[in-house]
Every structure is written in C-alpha cells, then in structure tokens.
Symmetry: C2
Subunit: 132 residues, 2 copies
C-alpha cells in the first residue's frame, strides 16, 4: 500500500519546484515533511498544501498570507475562537478573490478587444499590400 510518502526529488518533479523551495517552505512552516533518518518525506497533506501554495502564488498572495489561509484547509479539531477567526479570514479572502475575478474578466475582455483591433489592422494592411 502506497503510504503516500514522497521523497524530495519526486516532489520536485511532480510540482516542478526545486529542493531549495521545498526546504524554504518547510522553514516557513508551510510544509511539514516527516523524517526518515535525515531525509524528508512529504505526506499527502504536504502535497495538498503545496498545491494550494502554488495556486496562491499565482494569485499574487505572499507566503505569509498563504500560510494563514492554509490553516483553513487544515482544520481538524480546533477551538471555536480559532474557527471563527479562520472563517472571518476566509470571508475576507473570498471577497478578494471575487474582486479579482471581476478584474480578470475585464482584463480578458479588453485583451480580446485589442486582439480584434490588431486583427482588423492586419487584414487592412494585407489588402493595402495587395492593392499597391
């Protein structure tokens, strides 16, 4: 039975990151690989977290922001106060994400418009070329 423990090299291949990055994330308490002697073994949980870390980065969040958000996806048994704080943080985060989605839609629309304009220009240039 694959216990899901993954050595650092394999992790690097799967997620396309360097060993340094993984060690760095561990030092920042974003990942918690177990040890087999000296060596790190990353758990299923680490992989789930890493996926979220990389996604968070794409959206422009800092590692520290991500670290706080990760706890949201990592709630086992925690105090009500903590849960409330996490929920509130999530709400804030959600608002941010939805704003970002709106911005993104706008950006996509504008970019498409620009591309359409460029295409029009290109076809015009083309017919001009043909005319001369």
């Amino acid at each position: 039975m694959t216990d899901g423990l993954m050595p650092i090299r394999k992790m690097c291949e799967v997620f396309d990151v360097t060993p340094r990055t993984l060690r760095f994330y561990e030092s920042k308490e974003l990942l918690f690989p177990v040890r087999e002697g000296q060596k790190r073994l990353f758990t299923r949980r680490d992989r789930a977290r890493l996926k979220l870390i990389l996604r968070g980065k794409r959206f422009g969040f800092s590692l520290e922001e991500i670290r706080q958000l990760l706890d949201l996806y990592d709630i086992g048994d925690r105090q009500e106060t903590q849960l409330r704080r996490a929920h509130e943080a999530a709400r804030t985060h959600l608002i941010d994400l939805e704003q970002q989605r709106a911005d993104l839609d706008e950006a996509i629309a504008e970019l498409k418009a620009q591309m359409a304009w460029a295409e029009a220009q290109l076809s015009r240039t083309c017919s001009n070329d043909a005319a001369e």
Copy 2:
C-alpha cells in the same frame, strides 16, 4: 479645458501609490510623464497605463512582463511584423489569463466549501455547548 496633465501628488492620491513608485515606473519605462521645468506631469496615457500596471500586478505579473504587454494597448502606427508579434504575445497572455480564471473559479469554489464546513462546525459546537 483640462488638458489632462496631472502632477505627481494628484496621481498618488488617485491611484494610491507613492511618488517613489511613480518615479520607479518611469525609470523602468512603464510611464512617460512630460516635464514642466523639473516637475513631472502625467498624461492621460500614463493614467491608462498605470491602471493596467496595477491590474497586472494583482495578477502576479512582473513589471517587466507588464511593460511588454503595455505595448499592446499602445499601438498607434506600427509595422506589420511588430503587430503580428504583439498579437501573438496577446494570444499567449490570453491563454494564461483564461487558465488563471479557471484556477480562480476552482479556488473560490473550494474556499466556499471550506467556509460551509466551518459554519456547520460552528453551529454544531453551539448546540453542543447548549447541550452540556
């Protein structure tokens, strides 16, 4: 008639950035304010570009990437080759944006699920509290 020229202080207020940031962007050839004596005056074009810069940053693009993309929105009369290259860059960028949109939708869905779970936990805790 407002010629649309805006001094640095006003720019900072409108876009919520520091003077340093604007000067930095100018040094990186992202903005091109005109000069009145020593002082910078930002044009309508600068404001349009700055808006795109700030949006680009939210999506995790580097200033250098943004600089290249800005040229897309800044095409006056350019050669066909340049136009083709710009169009191709736009296409690549668009793909990236749409991928990002998909990721974002996924992230939002997951976050909402987590929040729902947290809410369920909270109501459970609440009733437990009441029971004991």
